[in-house]
Assembly symmetry: C2
């Protein structure tokens, strides 16, 4: 990470990384396929952590609660490494190929989480939906944590993010003030469209869209 | 698509694609950066469709309803092209580099959807969460649609998938039968842990996990 920050990701060679770490290149390649993988070495640990926390949830726990526990526990683990996480994210943000690798990592995490839920007896598509929603919550909380100055609390941001998701999927507005309250601004004397006719215009029906 | 299916994606050249389509290679490259992009040509249209449907939702629509309308309308559009979608998915499933490109496409769609919600006055992180959850719903419904034999109804699968997400985030079990009802199997005479002490063991608290 020191070298990636000092010299840039592209300019850093495996030889330099091995030297800085006091290893031979051969030893480096025993652990990592290439220099890119150094940045994703934690993915396996994170995945095992997610899976084992979901597996250890009581049978009575709802899928979303098992997922929430996994995310929060992983958040507590990452909380200790704020500076490292921040530096890592800066390197990734500067390189399209690393962002792609990050997307693959997140997709693998979601897939592992869904598998852990299925092993608890959660049926599809609920297992995949809970897992994908969980990873979205995690990613969005993680980004806020990285961008916040000072000592932001990642597990708390994860809880807040999950609460927001629950509010949003329950059909709440998610904005401070409604832009317009329907019907309040209508012109007096003008016919107000009935519920049915408004419905017919929006949302667009399949026939109109095709 | 014919060539990708007949000869395989890797074996197909741009020269062959241009010839089959009755175009010069030069004309091909005016539209596509490479042969991979042929498979992602629809992404821009899909994105514009998402964004314009969200923008045209009434002010009173909750973010999740604006997203749902966009997903359903896009589903109705894709519904007409089941065979093409199926063939495309088979080609993508066989190549890691195409799966990565698909992940990038989905991330861009989510980001465009979140932007469209913010322009409606939806605040962050609600906008990103609604968008990410929406794309997860879409992807999972799409996969079911691709894998189902016969005339599956994609807009209906999208509605079902969104309903499932709502059920899951509301904390429902998402499985046919609970594996064990808490407290029912307790050994008589043995002290049953109180609510507080059970809470302390699970979910794992940040301090224990770090």
């Amino acid at each position: 990470m020191e070298l990636f920050i000092e010299r840039g990701f592209e300019q850093t060679t495996v030889a330099e990384i091995a030297k800085r770490a006091g290893l031979t290149e051969r030893t480096f390649f025993r652990y990592f396929a290439d220099k890119r993988e150094v940045l994703f070495a934690g993915a396996g640990t994170l995945q095992e952590f997610f899976v084992s926390t979901v597996a250890s949830a009581p049978d009575s726990a709802a899928p979303i609660d098992a997922v929430a526990a996994a995310l929060e526990a992983a958040g507590a683990l990452l909380q200790e490494r704020h500076e490292y996480a921040r530096q890592r994210q800066a390197v990734i943000a500067a390189h399209a190929e690393l962002q792609e690798r990050e997307l693959i990592k997140l997709a693998s995490l979601a897939s592992a989480l869904a598998g852990a839920l299925r092993r608890r007896g959660v049926t599809e598509p609920a297992a995949s939906l809970a897992a994908e929603a969980g990873i979205a919550v995690f990613r969005i909380a993680f980004e806020r944590w990285i961008n916040e100055t000072g000592q932001a609390d990642l597990p708390q941001l994860i809880r807040d993010s999950l609460d927001q998701l629950k509010t949003v999927t329950a059909g709440k507005l998610g904005r401070e003030l409604p832009v317009r309250v329907p019907g309040r601004l209508r012109v007096p004397g003008r016919r107000r469209p009935g519920r049915e006719s408004r419905r017919r215009r929006w949302p667009p029906r399949p026939a109109a869209a095709a």
